[in-house]
């Protein structure tokens, strides 16, 4: 991570030229955005701290709620050896935090037609042969902002266990931090996407109820009933609506299962 190193070196220079206003106010902390000092209120997320400092995001900002993986951030707290990895929209800033965001993650994705591949034991290895080079360093797991056991699902993939690979990787937001850190150049998040699609399509059993309903709709079984509802005078459909039986209420079990 050359960017990480730069931040670390820059830090000392910045500290010397600092001094616009040496003292921090109460509830204020100092962060270093790409090496440059800014004072921001404590308690903000990294994302909101950058905006407070005057940054207007184009890259590095998406859903702002921990689902899209656009705001992968690398940080180091002053005097700490370790780099930290997290999402800018979720992680709260800390004093003396050195911050840099990844604007883009280059990662080659295998191309396939899901209809034309088999969920065989070797399919994941065939599509992503580099997983065989995993050295079990566990750096991927340590860099995951979702706390997914990333290395474990890679090992499941090597073993050909698509089902477990899909299950363990399910919460992946595809931010790419794992792939950026991997010494074996594995594209974990792309591989996991394939594993989940294979499981969803070929391994999990299909719903019979759904197949029946689709058939009924094709046979236009409900067309007439809905047309009747559409043509119904407002007063009547309102009454029908109010009087309809609510399953969740009857069960006294709002969960439904």
């Amino acid at each position: 991570m050359t960017e990480g190193k730069q931040v670390f070196v820059e830090k000392k220079k910045v500290k010397k030229i600092k001094g616009k206003d040496e003292k921090l106010k109460a509830d204020e902390i100092e962060v270093f955005i790409m090496g440059k000092s800014y004072k921001v209120p404590a308690g903000l997320t990294i994302m909101k701290a950058l905006e407070y400092a005057g940054y207007r995001f184009i890259r590095g900002c998406g859903c702002r709620a921990g689902f899209c993986g656009a705001c992968s951030t690398v940080y180091r707290i002053e005097d700490e050896q370790k780099l930290g990895f997290d999402l800018a929209c979720q992680k709260v800033v800390e004093n003396n935090m050195y911050l840099v965001q990844l604007p883009f993650v280059p990662g080659v994705k295998a191309e396939y037609d899901i209809e034309k591949i088999d969920p065989s034991d070797s399919i994941l290895l065939e599509m992503y042969p580099e997983i065989a080079r995993c050295v079990s360093c566990n750096t991927c797991t340590k860099s995951c902002p979702q706390d997914i056991d990333t290395m474990k699902y890679i090992q499941m993939a090597v073993r050909g266990d698509i089902e477990r690979c899909a299950e363990i990787s399910f919460d992946c937001i595809q931010c790419g931090l794992c792939a950026m850190r991997c010494p074996a150049d594995i594209k974990h998040y792309h591989l996991a996407q394939l594993a989940r699609r294979l499981r969803g399509k070929y391994i999990d059993p299909r719903s019979k109820n759904l197949a029946n309903r689709v058939k009924e709709i094709d046979q236009r079984k409900y067309d007439e009933e809905i047309v009747k509802l559409i043509k119904m005078p407002n007063k009547d459909i309102k009454e029908l609506y109010v009087k309809r039986k609510i399953e969740a209420e009857d069960e006294g079990d709002l969960g439904g299962d």
């Binding site: 998406g62 919460d171 294979l198 969803g200 019979k208 759904l210 609510i246």
Partner: protein
Amino acid sequence: MSEIEGYPDYMLESIKKVEKNRDYNMKHPVKPMGMKDREKILAKYHPDYMKGTRRELKVGINKGEIFYNGIADLLEARTILDPKDVDLTKIDYDVDVLIVGGGGAGSVAALFANESGIAINKILIVTKLRHGDANSMMAQGGIQAADRPEDNPALHYLDIYGGGHFTNKPELARALALDAPGIISWHEKLGVMYDRYEDGEFQELSGGGTCRNRMHSCKDYSGMEIMRVIRDKARNLEIPTLEFAPIAELIMDDKGQVAGAVAFNLETYEYYVIRSKATILATGGSGRLHLSNYPTTNHYGATGDGIVMAYHAGANLCDLDTIQIHPTGDAFPEPIVGILSTEKIRGLGAIPLNKNGDPFVFPLEPRDVESASLIRECKDGRGIVTPTGMFGVWLDTPMIEIIHGKGTIETKLAGEVRKFKRFGIDITEHPILVYPTLHYQNGGVEINEKCETRIPGLFAAGEVSGGVHGKNRLMGNSLLDFNVFGRRAGIFAAKYVKKAKIGKLTLKHLDKYNKLLEKAAIKSEKTAPILLPEYRGEMAISRSLDIF
């Protein structure tokens, strides 16, 4: 200093009451409201019915109709492009189908346009941020489809129509209900991992305002799972996608058709001229306008661009006098204020409680009624006030594991567990604090069953469109909406393309619109669409210079 660990003591005092009443509350649920009570509580506590949130629009085809102030502000602003600045004679992209927006509706539309015979290199998705950066990705709870034997599409239709206060366009509500099972079946074939029982049947929960349990979910990452699978398919097909290049305005031709759009490269500030035979608007919603000053669950790019550019081109809008506030946005801790806590939490059995630990509403009313009930509780002094002055009521999450057994929360609400764990809150042990948050644009550009707008060549699908949900959308119907109408937009746009003939390109409609503003004596400093919201610190903005 910045670390937040769990709840402050005064909140823990209130939680003790919640715990004390838990058994009783679970055994004595509040009944659903009658129609009269619903109307009463909405009139008094929902922003759609309050004074000062909305006004009459002064310009364009919907002149005289009521719009939320923030949307009227945009529609009464000058166009962002000056036609003089754009050279339409040099075409950068010449395609059959242009898709404006790379979220759920746009991606589904691209796949079905291709399946309906449009060549891959004649499709172009243009998107503001990255492909898949969209509210679709964030939907948690699930997607509705009436596929159980105890359920049927007519019941789903009735729920949609009643939930929308009988204001939906019936033919659109019908399409939503009838296409739903087919969509889930398509997802099965694509490989979406739904929550199922061992026999393959779906684990279906109830949602607010639905009379049958028909919510299909993928843990609490339902939107993410569906969106990433659809995107994966689009990527495998190599559908051309232009990222970080939002559309600024639509292009028309001399026959009054929409004939493409002008994209703006956010990083180089260049524009691109795109000519297309059919254009599908799939720009999503407008939560980032913070209507009525609500925080929002929406993604960064949800600034209502689509409704503005369509209005400039002469398309009509509907139901933008309403907004959907989701009952359970997070109210504590401060860094997550406004972020969604999924309706699935109530679907699994958690009940909203006031500061005394007392229930006050049936947990699964339609969203507007549920939200209004939460607001009432807080306005009447029975809410909790957070250290930063936010209101909230408890949502008693520990009930879930009493009903469904230990471990349920970890497996079904993994995202929620993760979110609160960062702040030292264990939602299996303690309730969460919630308050309504701006969630969804109910209305938008009016469409018909073929996703056509009133302007030839312009189609719309997903949150940007209007008519499907009327004045209130039910949970689980937006993931469904972008699939059903994204698919239809792709199919019908492909059909339209076969006969379409594009004339001479023009941006004259923008000059015309600006003249309308002058005529109406509207003097706005603003331009629209706004493309991105402004969140920079006041200090930073006040000292910024435009010299570089």
